[in-house]
Amino acid sequence: MKDTQKAGVFSIGLVRGLIAMLIGFLTGAAFVSLIRLILGLSVWTWNPSGNQFGFAESAWVVGAIFGAIAFMLGVGVLSDWLKWMNGQQTAEHPADAFASGWKRYLSVSFDHKAIGVQYGVTSIVVIGLAGIFALIFRTELAQPGMQLLTLERYNTIMSLHGIVMIVGILLGVGAMSNYLVPLMIGANDMAFPRLNAFAYWINVPAAVILLSSYFLGGFDTGWTGYPPLSAKAPLGMDMFFLGVYFAGLSSILGSLNVIATTIRLRAKGMHYFRMPIFVWTALATAVIGLTATQLIGLSFQMVLFERVFGMGFFAPDKGGNPILFQHLFWFYSHPAVYVFVLTGLGVISELLPVFARKPLFGYRWVALSSFGIALVGFLVWAHHMFTSGMSPYLRIPFMYSTLLVAVPTGVKFFSWVATIWEGKLSFETPMLFVLGAISIFLLGGLSGPPNATVATDLHLQDTYWIVGHFHATMFGGFVFPFFAAIYYWFPKITGRMYNEKLGKLHFFLMLPGFYIQSLSQMQAGLLGMRRRIGDYDPALGINLQQLLITIAAFVIFFSVVIAVVNLIYSARRGPIAASNPWRSRSPEFMLPSPIPQHNYEHAFEVVGEPYDYGIAGAYVSIDPDRYIAKEEEQPAAGGAVTSPTGATTD
């Protein structure tokens, strides 16, 4: 093993990065403290209850920024760029520090599949953490009165649940795009491998900074961080802003990469309308991520400047306007919802034809509907602000634009149903999650219009109905499809098969758990339960619903634990997987499992449609002369995806 030659924990990129981050933080904090010392300002105060945590606020902020940069240096993502600056040459595609093993994933790798796995594992860890936050405050909410937490702790944990989940979802979206897009379009890597690694690794300091907010007084604003409340919040607020800022940077750079890859690296013959449908959604997602994320970064940066430099963008007493923040914030944060769900919807569209043995109904319509959703998504942000006190007349146009989202979304639903109608359905775990996702996303979608029609939204705004609504869209649009994707591509990633029984157990616990949770949330909200409160009035008559939500939350968490155990165990001990266990036509299933390091040794040409189940003919073909000469070790795969043995088994 080559690994043993580089023994020691310091050979692991993550370890080096974290140490560098600490040094960077101290350097930055010391730098600001020195300036403060020269100016005669206080440098060190320790009084946690009074929101004083040693260094001054400005020192913490600069320290965190220095820390993030130092992490990137320490982990080694910047090495090649620094070499270029010095006029040095590097390899076209840089080699990984470790060729294989778990250390590979804890160090910088430039292989899009390794980065995809890094994104995915980080996503599950981060989502699990956010889930634990949810369990803590759900336990508090199981009955009226305060039993477990103080109101301040409740606010911090509830806010962290929101933003940590969002970061986790963004990581999950990154995992799917990174792993699948190059494979599906016949590329051997992303267009910019170094940028890809950078975009992943910046998430680590982002997560560390974000979570540090818990120990720095927390923040009590929810993930929306509305000023003036956020301008007055404890030090944790700054860490929240910086954490989201860096995670947003990752989103922008990752999106850039996906767009460039899709435009430039498609295989011969792969026109846009011949791409597997997932690529369309990944592309639409990337367009949103590239163009909208700046706004949330900007809005948080402006509040940060209010706090650190005393500026007054949103402070009325300094001539600012608190509503302006909400416009900037939601201009990103609404399209962001589609960043979370579009790739998930892509997974649904991608898997349905495989398990129904029937072409995707209305491929072009489904493909374009993703862009329809993305475009309309940019015109609807103010529907989060119907009661905010913006100009009243603005509510009407935003109501119309918001309701328009139903049109492209409807196209997807109807096309999905038409795809499985008269199909030949089989129900392996991925398919179960896909079907579950459709029904849940349907619930989320249908609970949307009452929020869009302004009159009813006057009642629903800031209630648990909204909580139920967006949990349904997130579960249906991300969580279920994400698990479907993990189970579906698991054999391609690990070369082994997951345990089908545990997979089904996971599904049959999660689906009813979710329905009970979401429907109870909606009912509680209609009856008067507000969002983001640590205690509620028993007079509302929602005690039972609250208890049910809590129980359901634990069931969902338990089911995810089963999934994680299944995945970890199967990755090491599961049965060896075949190259194409689902009889998919998608090009990545032509490759052996696990996929070799540089994907396609021979470029292929696309000669057919991606979902032509039911008629003969291949989707992609590899030049037979070159193929047979070099690839004798894989005779069974043949030139075409439909293998001859397919016809022989009874």
Partner: protein, 496 residues
Amino acid sequence: MSTAQSEPVKNRRVLIASSHPLFGQGLRSLLQERQTAGVEVVGMVSNLEEALQALDQLDPDLIIVDYDDKKLNRDEFLARFVEGEKKLRVVLLSLQSAQEAIVYDRRTLAAAQIDDWLEEWTFTEDSSRLAAQRGKFETIMDHRRTFMKNRLQKATHLLIAGFLVVIVTALLIFGMDYIRLLPTAASAQAEPIDQLFHLEFKVIAFLFSLIVVFMLYSIIVFRRKRGDTTDAEHIEGSTNLEVAWTVAPLATVLVFAYLGGSALAATVAPAPKPLRVEVIGKQWNWSFVYPDYGVISDKLYLPVDKQAVLLLRSDDVIHSFWVPEFRVKQDALPGGQDFVRELRVTPTQLGEFKVRCAELCGAQHTYMESPVLVVAQTDFDAWLTKEAGLSDDPVERGQKWSTTFGCASCHSIDGTKIVGPSWKDLCEGQATLADGSVIPVDENYLRESILNPNAKIVQGFAAGIMPQQFIDPVSKKPITDQQISDIIAYMNSICR
């Protein structure tokens, strides 16, 4: 063609014949991945002799032969196949042509089975050549029959599913009547909103049923049969359908947008001469000012069936005014006059409700709730008179001023020490000051203590806490002599 289904579960034994070892290996892993249980590769042979030997020894059900392999004498092999009687299948596979395989199937049929088999065999697509021999006319009739049968089948599926959608929708709508979905509607504004709600719930029930019933129907009816590895019919899509389900939702949402707009208009429609109430949120309580009557209160009193215009603002962060029974909601913004927002409410039901802050506003956000009392007009007038300090009784007026000016938040009337001395202590008739001197409590002392609080400090209390000047929060004028007299009268009344 799956006669295997009726047989007892037994592993089907497969023999692979090829001199090319990779052919066998690849095929073997392919068979294993297919996961159809009960396939067992019993042997792999590389020449004819071995194959013939294996035929006797291993007793396979299926032999897969490499079509391209010159080392296997295919003709002789097939001759042996024709001679045999035992049930056996042979498949000839070629690597060169990836599409087709040749299948030889040898089995013995009972007399009764032969008819079935013939019928099944005649109607399969593969046998079109034989059908042609039976005459062109029959073929056409056959095709037409299957076509009609298919169409009928398709229509039946659609019809049944459509029928189920209607039933499920009806059940859902019927069931929703038995679930508590909305709190009592206690305002005129709630009426158009609830109408829209109920319409939307019905449409949601329909659309949910539409998709879910079709899905469940597919899951149950169109599930793959065991062992069936064929694909479904190749249907790519239908532009007509896509256009239909683009236009229909578009029309629906436009209708709802229109309805939403009219309902909104109904909720903001002004009535003549509404009651004006300033609602001020601050961390973490509400106060309510009736500017036309000079009244401030920590409870929101509203006369029934009269529109109130709530003028909302905040002293610190963003709050949101929401009484669930009134349905309507509006944020209260900091920033002074430019940021005052209005909300119209016409209570229609007597009773006590609660205004609940709906925008996260810090630690105590949860408990930022204040009572809302909807009373009859006469009761409201009586309350206003009392609260406005218009009562004839100076004690009642004094009690009112003690809350208006915030006295009560520092001075208790039951002897409890809050920030300042309790007014109950005044009943002793004398007070011990910080320097130890004892002075009598009289009207002059009390008046001085209100106007110039730091002149005489009672022992055990700090100076500089009480405001130097009291401003009436409603009229914005300094406290008057009359008001001070009223407060003193109230103080005296405590001792009685």
